[in-house]
């Protein structure tokens, strides 16, 4: 963290402090952005946008220890607003999903890997808010209270969103495991 980097002054000092923060934390934040969006390029876009907003608010963020939380909050809210605004109706084609590309390249063909790919595909299908809750809880290991602060909602809402997300994933996995019923050929 950059808490010890000195007080945020005007101009160059503030920029230097911000730059140090970006250099130190971007890789980790990018991972979170990727898990939230499920798309490499969108993740980079989202992180850039979130960091730009953070840069503009840099002077107002008094607690330097909470910058990660601030950036995460901006990422999640920005992603939800993008999703609401215009990308909801889009159906990407002509692009191989990243996970499937790895599988196609024969990186790991074990049953576990296939299951994790299936899980990743299901995760990408969750609504962005539910996905954000899942990522913050199971990847960032945040408490319900911290997630609620990040998302700007109550802990109760976090609990219900997490419950819904897990239920969707469980149902989808059970459906995928169900035996396929072969059509009977008697009517031919």
């Amino acid at each position: 963290m950059v808490g010890e980097a000195g007080e945020s002054g005007a101009g160059g000092g503030r920029d230097a402090e911000f730059r140090a923060y970006v250099v130190a934390r971007s890789h980790l934040l990018l991972r979170t952005a990727y898990l939230v969006t499920g798309d490499h390029q969108l993740a980079e876009d989202l992180l850039q946008t979130a960091l730009t907003k953070t840069y503009l608010a840099w002077g107002r963020i008094r607690d330097r220890e909470s910058i990660d939380a601030y950036v995460r909050r901006v990422m999640v809210t920005t992603h939800v607003s993008w999703w609401r605004r215009k990308w909801r109706a889009e159906t990407p084609i002509g692009e191989v999903p990243d996970g499937l590309a790895a599988a196609a390249a024969g990186i790991d063909e074990s049953a576990d890997a296939v299951e994790r790919l299936a899980m990743w595909a299901l995760l990408r299908g969750l609504p962005p808010r539910q996905r954000a809750v899942v990522v913050l809880r199971y990847y960032e290991d945040l408490s319900e209270t911290e997630i609620a602060q990040t998302l700007g909602c109550t802990p109760g809402t976090v609990k219900s969103q997490a419950h819904r997300a897990l239920a969707s994933l469980r149902n989808a996995l059970q459906a995928a495991d169900a035996p396929v019923v072969e059509p009977s050929g008697g009517e031919r």
Partner: protein, 377 residues
């Protein structure tokens, strides 16, 4: 079951987070701060403009009510102070000034756009490039965009030029996209669409990362391939034979393409001069060797617009029937790029020393008068 799902969930998230490639964080910091400063500047300008508007309204409304309103001034563009022309009359043009969107369309080598164009290259709205950023940044290098046709995303990437084949109504679009086989580096994908239906006609991937679409010529897409150490080259690709690789025409950088005239204006490698190449027949040959600095070529390839900074003698103008323009701007000027528009005007993007942002002007090649174009909000 919940515990199983949670365990699997953690493993999946850890694994997926691990595949996210590393990025150049120094570059990221620079970009973010540049964007932040630009946004702050825009806000300040917006606030100042709003304040000015209020003041003007306070003054103008009572004057208008009393019947003494001031003459209306154009809002989209500002006439540059006293443009002077060498060897030509300096009668100011009374033609309508281009909108910023039209200028963008012209830069893509397209005819004047009808109505709003979200993709600066498709007046029919079949194909659009959706900015991947909600800010108003015009700087494409900061945004990942989506190329969308008829509601479907065709690909995501950073745009690398687009151009319309006016003869057969085809649009060529290039974009830098990540290649899963090539690791973190970007490669270029070039696609050609039917401009009327949005159907993809052909596609080639894996082109050099410095490739841009510059225009159409003789049914082929003209490509500008940037390389370091002045090894730039001009190539073209035949979308009717998509399996064939682009073929090099000459060394240098494409400045403009004259589609009807079958000519390309090329800046020679390592030299601040330009040559006009005729690409009909074999071998392709340079019609004009270095000697003048042309920056734009008319569609028929017979007229060139000269960068007057080099003090070209008026006699040279006879060759190309161009006009020299001496713009009065607060500092030395260099031409970043130029285009001859479909309605016979020349669009110049200028870099002015002392000004942070570039200046775009639209000039009349006949009389040399120019008007400055102001980006629409």
């Amino acid at each position: 079951m919940n515990a199983d799902v949670e365990t699997q969930l953690r493993a999946t998230l850890e694994e997926q987070a691990g595949v996210m490639e590393r990025m150049d964080v120094g570059l990221l910091a620079d970009r973010v701060m540049a964007r932040g400063r630009a946004r702050r500047r825009r806000r300040a300008i917006g606030a100042a403009a709003a304040a000015v508007f209020v003041v003007v309204a306070l003054v103008a409304v009572p004057a208008w009510v009393s019947g003494t309103h001031a003459p209306v001034r154009p809002t989209m563009a500002t006439q540059l102070p006293e443009p002077s022309v060498t060897g030509r009359s300096a009668v100011p043009s009374h033609r309508a000034i281009a909108s910023y969107r039209q200028v963008l369309a012209w830069f893509q080598g397209l005819p004047e756009a009808q109505g709003p164009v979200s993709f600066t290259g498709d007046p029919w709205g079949v194909l659009e490039i959706v900015p991947g950023d909600t800010s108003n940044d015009a700087d494409e290098s900061h945004t990942v965009t989506r190329l969308r046709a008829t509601g479907q995303v065709l690909m995501t990437g950073k745009p690398r030029g687009a151009a319309l084949d006016s003869g057969r109504h085809r649009v060529a679009v290039a974009a830098a996209v990540p290649d899963p086989k090539a690791g973190p580096s970007l490669t270029i994908t070039l696609m050609v669409f039917d401009a009327d239906t949005g159907r993809m006609l052909s596609r080639v991937s894996g082109l050099d990362s410095g490739t841009r679409v510059s225009g159409w010529l003789d049914g082929r897409v003209v490509l500008d391939v940037y390389a370091s150490n002045w090894a730039n080259r001009v190539a073209w690709w035949d979308p009717d034979a998509p399996e064939a690789a682009p073929v090099d025409i000459t060394a240098g950088r494409v400045l403009d393409v004259a589609e009807s005239g079958h000519r390309i204006l090329v800046e020679g490698p390592g030299a601040r001069c330009s040559q006009v190449w005729e690409v009909i027949g074999k071998p392709h040959q340079a019609l004009e060797e270095c000697g003048m600095r042309l920056v734009a070529l008319s569609d028929d390839g017979r007229r060139g617009f000269i960068d007057g900074r080099y003090g070209i003698a008026p006699a040279m103008l006879d060759v190309w029937s161009g006009a020299q323009v001496a713009l009065k701007l607060p500092g030395p000027v260099s031409v970043a790029s130029a285009r001859w528009s479909a309605d016979d005007r020349v669009v110049l993007s200028l870099t002015v020393w002392g000004l942070k942002d570039g200046v775009t002007v639209v000039c009349e090649p006949d009389d040399g008068s120019c008007a400055r174009v102001v980006p629409s909000p």
